[in-house]
C-alpha cells in the first residue's frame, strides 16, 4: 500500500500531462455561434451589383446556400477565393456579405479576382455582421431552404471543410426540405 502511494505524484503528473496535451489541439478562437437554428436576421441593404435596390433576407431563401462574409481588406479571403470560385462554377448557391468594405474597393476586388457570388449584400457599417455574430472575415454560413442558419464556419473554406462539413450539411438540409 505505502509503495503504491509513491506512485501518486506520477499519476497526478500523467493526468495533468494528458489534460494539457489534449487541450493543445483546442482552437482558442473557436466561438460557438448563437445563430445556428435561427432564421437569417432581418436586413434591408443594397447589393454591390445593384446599389439602388434594397434587398432583404428573402432574396437568399429558396435552396440551401452558402453566405460568405468577405472584404477586399481581408487577405485570407483572397486565399479562399479560388475555392469559392470552383464551388460557384459547380453550381453551389453562393451569396456574399461584403463586410465593412468600401463599395468601390470591393467592386475592384471582384473585377480583379472574379465574382463567384450570385450577389454580395453590402454591409458597410457592419450592422448585419453584428446581427449574424460575425467577428471578422472570412466566415461562411450554411443556410437551409427555409432561410434558417444551420452552420457557421470561421475562417477559410477549403476542400476539407467543404467535403467534410459544409457539403453534407447542405445535402442533408436539401433532403429534409424535399421530404
Amino acid at each position: 500500500m505505502s509503495r503504491l502511494k509513491l506512485f501518486a505524484p506520477l499519476l497526478v503528473f500523467a493526468l495533468l500531462a494528458g489534460l494539457l496535451y489534449s487541450s493543445l489541439g483546442n482552437d482558442p478562437e473557436f466561438l460557438p455561434s448563437q445563430l445556428v437554428g435561427k432564421p437569417l436576421p432581418k436586413f434591408s441593404l443594397p447589393t454591390l451589383e445593384q446599389p439602388d435596390r434594397l434587398i432583404g433576407p428573402s432574396a437568399l431563401i429558396g435552396a440551401p446556400a452558402l453566405l460568405n462574409v468577405w472584404a477586399s481588406w481581408c487577405y485570407t479571403c483572397r486565399i479562399e477565393h479560388p475555392f469559392l470560385t470552383r464551388l460557384s462554377a459547380e453550381g453551389v448557391p453562393l451569396y456574399g456579405l461584403n463586410y465593412k468594405n468600401d463599395a468601390a474597393e470591393a467592386r475592384d476586388w471582384l473585377q480583379e479576382f472574379g465574382n463567384p457570388y450570385r450577389f454580395s449584400v453590402q454591409d458597410l457599417d457592419g450592422r448585419l455582421g453584428i446581427d449574424l455574430g460575425v467577428a471578422g472575415a472570412p466566415e461562411t454560413f450554411v443556410v437551409n431552404s427555409e432561410g434558417t442558419i444551420i452552420h457557421r464556419h470561421i475562417g477559410i473554406v477549403n476542400e476539407k471543410v467543404w467535403s467534410e462539413t459544409l457539403r453534407p450539411l447542405m445535402l442533408g438540409s436539401a433532403e429534409a426540405g424535399g421530404n
Binding site: 478562437e29 466561438l31 465593412k100 457599417d125 446581427d131 449574424l132 455574430g133 467577428a135 471578422g136
Partner: protein, 164 residues
C-alpha cells in the same frame, strides 16, 4: 452648481477630444451621451464585455473593427436607455457567453466555478488526514514509551529476581 460645473468640464473634455482627434488619421470620434449616468454605464459595459475577435481585450481596449462596431451599438443601446439585461441579452444573443468576462453559471462552466472548491476540499481533507495520522503515530509513540519503561522495570525486577 458643482454638478453643472462638472458637466461643463466633462463636455469641454469631450469636445477638446473632437478637435484633437480630427488631426490623426485614426481619429477617435468621441461618443456623446446626454447624461453622466449614461457615460458611466457605457464605461462599465465596455469594460465587462469582451471583444469577440481578440482573445483578451475588452471592447474598450480593442482596436478591431468588430469591437468598434460593438462600441457603436453599445452607445446606441445606452442612449436608448435600454436596461442592463437588455444590453447583455443583445450581446449574448449574437456572440454568446464568450462576450462576457464574468461567465454565467451553467453546465459548461460548472467546472470553472466549482473546480477550485473541489481542489480546496481535496487539500483540506489531505491536511485533516495527515494531521490525524501524525497524532495517532505520536500517541502510539507515547504509549510505547510508557510500555518501554514499564517493560524495563518489569525486566529489571525479573533480573533482580533471577540473581537472587
Amino acid at each position: 452648481m458643482e454638478r453643472i460645473l462638472k458637466l461643463v468640464l466633462f463636455l469641454g473634455v469631450l469636445f477638446s477630444g473632437t478637435v484633437l482627434g480630427q488631426d490623426g488619421a485614426n481619429a477617435i470620434t468621441p461618443l456623446k451621451f446626454e447624461t453622466v449616468a449614461q457615460q458611466e454605464r457605457y464605461r462599465h459595459f465596455s469594460k465587462v464585455l469582451r471583444c469577440p475577435l481578440c482573445q483578451n481585450q475588452n471592447l474598450n481596449g480593442s482596436n478591431s473593427g468588430v469591437a468598434g462596431d460593438l462600441r457603436r451599438e453599445l452607445h446606441r443601446l445606452i442612449s436608448e436607455n435600454k436596461t442592463d439585461d437588455e444590453v447583455i441579452e443583445f450581446m449574448r444573443s449574437r456572440y454568446g457567453d464568450f462576450i462576457l468576462y464574468d461567465p454565467p453559471l451553467n453546465a459548461s462552466t460548472s467546472a470553472l466555478w466549482f473546480g477550485p472548491l473541489v481542489f480546496l476540499l481535496i487539500g483540506l481533507l489531505t491536511i485533516v488526514f495527515m494531521v490525524r495520522r501524525q497524532r495517532t503515530a505520536a500517541a502510539v509513540a507515547i504509549l510505547s514509551e510508557a510500555d518501554k519503561s514499564s517493560l524495563q522495570s518489569e525486566l529489571s525486577l525479573q533480573k533482580v529476581d533471577g540473581k537472587e
